[in-house]
Symmetry: C2
Subunit: 233 residues, 2 copies
DNA sequence: CGGTACGTTGAGTCATATCAACCATAGTGG
DNA sequence: CCACTATGGTTGATATGACTCAACGTACCG
């Protein structure tokens, strides 16, 4: 399924200087550089699936990935997205558990696979790396907790407004003002935790109220303040 | 507010041999032993509050603590509980952020306060401790993700059944078969993410269907299978 | 004894899910 | 090139789960 693509070298990868990886020693860096496997995936590909045994984690070089859990009746709940510089799958590796989420590509991507052993060694031997990774996890945990509160207490309308603002924060907008992420109505529903039809109706309302503009899957936020007010952030 | 109570020594504390702390070297252990501060709190006390700057984290020696976030309209959403052996507040310490949850005692407790510096040093210098703490965080994150999916997709009825089963798992039952945790109807509602009245009505239904028995705040699970079926786990 | 917090029940309302039909688009294979 | 099918989007009608509001009971506490 993945297309191997070894042109990407760690030396030139700008992610090196960002995030976790900036704490690596030269040796550690060389080790990753030599042992990582670069893969390309097309939209729709599954990188790993609920229940899979993970042999390592992935660092996203480019593209967008949705990470979701499958609920009781098969409905997917999108937990988060991963984009350039993010890492995915590390949770299951660290806990020696089968993956409890599925990662599916929504914008063609290139990822690097780094083995479990490498991860364990880094955590154990590089305190700064461990701290940084822990902080990352803690941020995710904080966000998850906030989202629990939101889903439990806010209306679908409020949550949709909030999600749109989040998407803008996370993916920014292009020159025409559209969000740099394309989602089906169903995917939007699976973030918000509602039915597709509800998303459609609410988007129409937002459009009528001049809060957003919609062009197919492209969404432009016209009135950020207004959405803020609706979302009760 | 807290009552200082220095009779509790780390040497005799059985938590030492469990969880994270089993990885400490003698030195590290001595350092904690000498610098920790033991405090007692009564039911209703707040250990720390949303927005507080944390000077360290807490290890729960005994008692039960509810950890919640306050939603837009002031309604609390209970995120998790902490009991003997659990640690709380470490997330905010590691991220150098103000606390984003409140910790309130629901069964009188004794906790030990351990300073931020101690925590940072342990993470940086003791790889096994770091790994163990990270695993703990990852478990919490996995649970949070599951709960997001549940709240987003399940009915209140399903969630209440699930919560009752979780409480049994986490706190076990006493000799008479009652859950070892007492919660008000409102608190139950704040876990499930619903209104107090809804919890009351559903508990009555469960009682009528012989799934549970209720005696004031004491709840006994009569038909675990039945609740399982309802919860769609 | 009044006060406060908690529990319970009933009635009415509303947001949202569900069901159903229909349209648009694009890709597929004969 | 044309059915053919699949996928996604939209709209309307209807059903209902759950919230809200309101009243009242109960118990404990100083």
């Amino acid at each position: 399924m993945p297309i191997h693509d070894d042109q990407i070298t760690c030396d030139s990868c700008f992610i090196r200087s960002h995030s976790l990886f900036r704490h690596l020693t030269d040796e550690e860096f060389q080790h990753i550089s030599l042992n990582k496997i670069t893969e390309s995936y097309k939209r729709g590909s599954i990188i790993y699936q609920e229940g899979n045994r993970m042999k390592g984690f992935f660092c996203v070089h480019s593209g967008i990935i949705k990470i979701y859990k499958t609920g009781f009746d098969g409905k997917e709940q999108i937990i988060r997205f991963a984009k350039t510089g993010d890492i995915i799958g590390y949770r299951s590796v660290l806990n020696n558990e089968p993956a409890c989420t599925t990662s599916e590509v929504i914008a063609d991507c290139v990822v690097c696979h780094i083995s479990s052993n490498t991860l364990f060694n880094l955590v154990k031997n590089n305190g700064n790396f461990a701290l940084e990774l822990m902080q990352l996890t803690c941020v995710e945990l904080g966000e998850a907790n906030s989202y629990i509160t939101d889903i439990a207490q806010k209306t679908v309308r409020e949550r949709l407004a909030e999600v749109l603002l989040h998407l803008k924060d996370e993916f920014k907008i292009d020159s025409a003002g559209y969000l740099n992420i394309l989602l089906t109505r169903e995917e939007l529903a699976n973030i918000v935790g509602t039915a597709t039809e509800s998303v459609i109706r609410l988007l129409s309302e937002f459009k009528q109220d001049q809060l957003i503009a919609v062009n197919g899957r492209k969404i432009k936020i016209l009135d950020e303040q207004g959405l803020h007010r609706i979302s009760n952030l």
